[in-house]
Amino acid sequence: MKISIPSTNETFDIELSENMLAANDKLAAENRRFFDSRGIFAIDILGSVGSGKTTLVQQFVRRLKDRKKVASIAGDLATTIDADRIRTAGGEVLQVNTGSLCHLDASIVNRAVSSLDLDGLDILLIENVGNLICPGEFRLGAHRRLVVVSVTEGPYMIVKHPAVFLDADAVAVNKTDLAGVMEVDPERLKKDALALKPGLKTALISAKTGEGVDELMRLMGIPGA
């Protein structure tokens, strides 16, 4: 903190330059170091309620569980629906209820991880709270950030949420099996994502049928994919 020369006898300008996101970013970096030290590959999964995050996590778990030890953290305001569903696919699952908080942050993940069985853990899937605005600002320390959008949410999900894609590594355009009835072009959603960030990995998938999921996992560089 720097106190400058008073502009009058009584008034002072105090230079702070304090980053309000620094505390979270610092903890996120700590989480990353912790994951790296244990050889854990962590993925932060974002998407609106109903975009298909949980179904996709189930697909990831089913595909990986014979080769890798997988655990999941399910973030949700109030229910255990997500954790209960993921549990049917296998692996350890921890439900985190955030109450009124619209996003997970690095400290929540930090606490959640400490209550998981980390012995030999290879992959940690972190399903964020269902919305595409707030979680964008709060990095968790994961190695990949995946955003899930589905054709059932309409044609504008990507162009209306540009900020969340800035930090994303991959985008899954989901529910392609319903694209015809929804009259939404999945290729258009993919194009929107690439128009914002040409370096994104993109895949057209159906988390329900499993189509495109293997390709998505390869593109994301998930170990064991």
């Binding site: 702070l16 707030c134 162009v159 800035l166 929107d192 128009a195």
Partner: protein, 125 residues
């Protein structure tokens, strides 16, 4: 609602600095938000007013500045503003394209534009 949590951090930071300076009241607070941050200034302002109620900063004037977004290319090293999507190309989308303004490469990192910073405060002793 994430504006409420950022406002809470700002209130804490401002009041701590004012107390350390033994200030009687805070006259103004200057904040900087990146143009790509997902914090809506009007919402932050609302929550700050709530947070500053009954504190030495209750009457503080708020100045919120926008920090322009800039990127650095990992391939050619160029730094600068992003090219912008115009309307028409991708439907209603107007905004930055995260690609190098110089070589067109897509391996770029964001060097500014995501800030949420308490820049300075003016206090009266």
């Amino acid at each position: 609602m994430h504006e409420a949590s950022i406002a809470e951090s700002i209130v804490r930071s401002v009041l701590r600095a004012a107390a350390e300076a033994k200030a009687e009241k805070v006259e103004s607070v200057t904040l900087e938000f990146g143009e790509w941050s997902a914090f809506e200034p009007a919402q932050v302002e609302f929550w700050l007013k709530v947070g500053f109620e009954n504190t030495p900063a209750a009457a503080a004037a708020l100045e919120i500045r926008t920090v322009p977004g800039r990127i650095r290319c990992r391939a050619c090293g160029a730094e600068g503003a992003c090219p912008q999507n115009g309307s028409g190309v991708t439907g209603p989308f107007v905004g930055p394209v995260l690609e190098c303004p110089s070589c067109g490469g897509s391996d770029v990192e964001i060097i500014s534009g995501r800030e949420a910073v308490v820049k300075s405060i003016r206090v009266v002793k």
